[in-house]
């Protein structure tokens, strides 16, 4: 069923496989370290993070870290197809770089496209090697779906930006050496026109990282507070006040990654086994619902295959990233609901007292990570309508107004 490799592709595949054989262990299915820490203590997460970093370094040293990046920035100078082939092969091994590839693929293209030569030379290689870990400092309490409404201030004083404000939903900030930050450098122009994209040293004493627990209880995310943090003008990527263009490059990469990347645990099979175990698999209601979830899971898989095929063939992908993201999240949520419903009264329990250690309960609580995280479903549906279908935008009331004159939640107005 698989598309056949060209001879060049086959040779590349076998080279990748040989290198992997020599440098990694095959997946065992149970107890793989790459599935993440078993418990969510800071220590366990730190240890996991170290393993991820080590693997990233190994890959870089072998020439497999950023296959499609140009050689002059430390990449392999290969193709997008080779990147996919490598990933297909790597999937069989018990290795992962965790969140690192995500921050690399957000930061790398932005620096290559918008950064100056000095920035590229300084940052791109340590970025790929995992020597310097990055985090994305975009979201703010007042700027959620409307990211451009951000209020973190960057005031230019004597050739330095002085940054004050708060970011949140920052993944891996507790492990990061640097962050890429969007801040308001000019409040006197419309909101998209007064933002700068800054590189910030996370070890600055004015940077305070605090965990932000999610409704499920996870502590992957952080809030980051900035108090008089000084950033040299040389750390501005792109133009001063022109950071929105740089941000758009990273955002475009982000939404495609969410829907297309994560296959994760084969949860429908788990659902069937679970239902059988609970004596519910003979129940026609359960069978029909699980079949519905499985249909969605497979259809999502077909779309992921389609995307990969297009990339392998060098065609531009004809599947919209937002379509994949919404479908992925809804499928995951549907399976979570079924997993909980199958349990009946046992669904009341949690943690150690629950079946499967409360896996399905946690999945239900984790819904917002799909329906809100990485852009709400509502924002993605707007995007599908406008970008993929060409439907007109809503009338905008915030485009022509200087940022400081915008109506915000803090005004407390109800605009009735």
């Amino acid at each position: 069923m698989k598309r056949k490799d060209t001879p060049e592709e086959a040779a590349f595949r076998s080279e990748a496989r040989s290198w992997l054989d020599a440098n990694a262990e095959l997946r065992r299915g149970e107890g793989d370290w790459s599935n993440g820490p078993r418990v969510h203590t800071h220590e366990a997460e730190a240890e996991y993070f170290d393993r991820c970093r080590t693997w990233q370094r190994t890959k870089f040293d072998g020439g497999w870290a950023c296959i499609a990046w140009p050689r002059k920035y430390g990449g392999r100078g290969g193709s997008a197809a080779q990147e996919i082939i490598y990933a297909q092969e790597e999937a069989a091994f018990d290795v992962t770089s965790g969140f690192l590839p995500a921050s690399i693929s957000l930061m790398g293209p932005a620096l290559m496209r918008h950064g100056n030569e000095a920035q590229r030379e300084r940052f791109l290689t340590p970025l790929q090697r995992g020597d310097e870990v990055w985090c994305q400092l975009f979201s703010e309490p007042e700027a959620g779906s409307d990211l451009a409404a951000l209020r973190t201030r960057a005031e230019l004083v004597d050739g330095e930006f002085i940054v004050n404000g708060q970011k949140l939903w920052t993944t891996s900030a507790q492990f990061a050496d640097y962050g890429f930050l969007l801040a308001r450098s000019n409040p006197d122009v419309p909101k998209h026109a007064g933002i700068s994209f800054l590189l910030v040293d996370m070890s600055d004493p004015g940077v305070d990282v605090r965990p932000l627990p999610t409704c499920k209880g996870d502590r992957h995310f952080n809030e980051v507070f900035f108090t008089d943090v000084r950033i040299p003008v040389s750390n501005v990527v792109g133009e001063i006040d022109g950071g929105w263009a740089v941000a758009k490059t990273t955002l475009a990469n982000e939404s495609m990654a969410i829907g297309s990347g994560r296959r994760g645990r084969d949860t429908t099979a788990a659902l069937v086994r679970f239902a059988r175990d609970r004596g519910r698999w003979s129940d026609p209601l359960t069978r029909q619902r699980v079949a519905t979830a499985y249909t969605q899971e497979r259809v999502l898989g077909f779309l992921q295959d389609k995307l990969q095929q297009a990339l392998l063939d060098g065609r531009s992908p004809d599947v919209d990233g937002s379509v994949m993201k919404v479908l992925w999240s809804e499928t995951r949520s549907l399976k979570a609901e079924i997993g909980l419903d199958i349990q009946g009264a046992e669904g009341l329990l949690f943690g150690g007292d629950a079946f499967d250690r409360g896996f399905w309960q946690e999945l239900v609580l984790d819904r917002p990570m799909g329906s809100i995280g990485g852009g709400t479903h509502e924002v993605h549906r707007n995007g599908i309508g406008e970008r993929a279908l060409g439907l007109p935008r809503e009338p905008r009331v915030d485009r022509e107004v200087a940022f400081r004159d915008l109506k915000t939640s803090m005004d407390g107005g109800t605009s009735k």
């Binding site: 779906s145 409404a149 939903w169 932000l212 409704c215 909980l340 009264a345 917002p368």
Partner: protein
């Protein structure tokens, strides 16, 4: 039907709203989530002594207030609004109504005053793995021994089962099946052979326990072999009470959503001016209006002793189960990133809504009861 509150009822509700707003702010709820007992003894005592809430439907002769089920429902609504953590549902509703319907007059006058005074009782009916709140789900047998019986086996999902001073255990006469042979047995919390352990719960504002009985001495109440109809009646009332509690939660959730949608601005506009958010709120109101009507009708059926009560209770459950869960879920969605944090209370309502779907029979259980009623009605 009494769709409108009397002015006394309105006053009663307002008093309770103030009481619970003061005694159960979010900080208190969260503090109690981490305690073993799961509730505040002081507040519980206040409820009993100052407001007489534990005795709201208990006759005055038994130390209660002798008010109607409508007032009980109002009280549960106020508790549901703030996720007030207490053994009220287990002790006052489940145990209290089981005693009221299944015990003899003498037993009632012995047991109800204790409940009204705030002593903790609970009803142990569902069993591990099976998890059903109906006659089919009861396997535990009561073996005759002397004047009473001895019970051996397990119960689970027992509300506040680890802290209750008295357990009312539902068991059957050996060899009996179905609705035959069911009885209600009183077990003291300190009885020999009784061991109880708190369970970790999705909804940390409601305590459940597992109860193991090893030849525990128990005292039969009422007419032990024929208690099912009375217990079924008590369970219907408990379902209605649960719906009243869910209704309070729904109201709170919708108010929160609407308030946020009116004041949170994105793209220079209040987010509630966007149809995606506005229509989500509208759907929640449709669910809530229906829930309110369904609860009113079911409460009235309890008050009027309407023979349609089992059907009306299941209709209320089937509707509220869906409406509350959807409201709690969409409330998170409307709050966006804020809704996804542990610090914000939205997920506590989601946990409560989800768990309320699964206790005292889940949605498919109640739908099947409705279908069975339709069998009869159209035979």
């Amino acid at each position: 039907m009494s769709f409108a509150l009397s002015s006394e009822q309105e006053e009663f509700r307002d008093t309770l709203r103030r009481f619970f707003a003061e005694s159960s702010p979010s900080t208190e709820v969260r503090r109690l989530m981490d305690t073993d007992r799961g509730f505040d003894d002081g507040v519980w005592k206040q409820m009993a002594e100052e407001i007489g809430l534990q005795g709201v439907v208990i006759p005055e002769a038994s130390g209660g207030q002798g008010l109607s089920f409508a007032e009980l429902a109002l009280a549960l609504g106020e508790m549901g609004r703030v996720l007030h953590p207490s053994p009220f549902l287990g002790s006052v509703v489940l145990a209290g109504r089981a005693v009221a319907h299944a015990a003899s007059e003498a037993e009632r006058s012995e047991l109800l005053p204790a409940i009204a005074a705030g002593e903790l009782a609970t009803l142990a009916i569902a069993e591990p793995d099976v998890g059903r709140w109906d006659a089919r789900g009861i396997s535990l047998e009561a073996t005759p021994a002397g004047d009473g019986v001895r019970l051996s086996g397990s119960k689970s999902f027992v509300l506040d089962g680890h802290t209750a001073a008295r357990l009312l255990v539902v068991a059957r006469t050996p060899g009996s099946r179905g609705e035959e042979g069911i009885g209600l047995y009183l077990v003291e919390g300190n009885a020999t052979g009784l061991s109880r352990s708190r369970l970790d719960t999705l909804d940390a504002t409601r305590r459940l326990a597992r109860v193991e009985l090893d030849a525990v001495e128990a005292r039969p109440l009422g007419d032990p072999g024929n208690a099912w109809p009375a217990l079924e009646h008590a369970l219907c009332e408990a379902s209605v009470a649960l719906c009243a509690e869910m209704l309070g939660g729904m109201e709170h959730v919708l108010e929160t959503s609407v308030e946020y949608a009116r004041t949170r601005h994105q793209f220079g506009r209040a987010i509630g001016s966007f149809q995606a958010v506005k229509h989500m709120c509208a759907d929640l109101l449709i669910g809530l209006e229906g829930a309110r009507a369904a609860v009113d009708v079911a409460v009235d059926a309890v008050v009027e002793n309407d023979p349609e009560l089992p059907l009306l209770a299941s209709i209320a459950r089937a509707h509220c189960n869906e409406a509350y869960y959807r409201a709690a879920r969409d409330n998170i969605q409307i709050h966006g990133g804020l809704g996804a944090t542990y610090e914000f209370d939205a997920h506590l309502y989601l946990r409560r809504a989800k768990s309320s779907q699964q206790i005292l029979g889940d949605t498919s259980f109640h739908r099947e009861l409705i279908a069975t009623e339709l069998d009869r009605a159209t035979a």
